[in-house]
């Protein structure tokens, strides 16, 4: 019943890894939005402005895109 495991193919077929990558992407995006949005909100609270949150969110999203492209887009 328990067969020996197949060799891990090296041509890009990953099986369950694809789905796990999708959740990794969601996780990275959320992390970027939350940290840099959090920094933006904190800076807003300190300086009294109201638009730094948005800049923080956009910067976080851009950084997360860069990391996702680097990790998953070019390999």
């Amino acid at each position: 019943m328990v067969t020996p495991a197949p060799q891990r193919p090296s041509d890009g077929h990953d099986g369950p890894l694809e789905e796990a990558r999708a959740w990794g992407i969601v996780s990275y995006l959320l992390a970027g939005l939350l940290t840099f949005g959090g920094f933006g909100m904190f800076a807003d609270h300190l300086l009294g402005t109201s638009w730094l949150v948005l800049i923080g969110l956009l910067a976080g999203a851009a950084l997360a895109f860069y990391l996702i492209w680097f990790r998953y887009g070019t390999r």
Binding site: D11, G12, H13, D14, E18, R21, A22, I25, V26, L29, L30, L33, L34, G37, M41, V53, L57, A61, A64, F65, I68, W69, Y72, G73, T74, R75
Partner: protein, 71 residues
């Protein structure tokens, strides 16, 4: 007979804004599945593109989620 709805309007905005990314992600992976079905050898090439597209569409959904709480 009248009723009262209480709550924040943010949630309606968040709900409506989740329609777009939902459709977008469905289209992206439909194209990926089509491509792999026509030519299974192209899987390695199509996969990074599919995940990049997914990241872009998912970012909009997450923007909606985060802004529903922030604003």
């Amino acid at each position: 007979m009248t009723g009262e709805i209480s709550g924040s309007l943010n949630l309606i905005g968040f709900g409506l804004s989740a329609i777009g990314p939902g459709v977008g992600i469905g289209l992206i992976f439909a194209a990926y599945i089509n491509g792999v079905a026509r030519q299974p050898e192209a899987r390695g090439m199509l996969q990074p593109i599919a995940f990049l597209g997914f990241a872009l569409a998912e970012a909009l959904a997450l923007f909606g989620l985060v802004l529903a709480f922030v604003l």
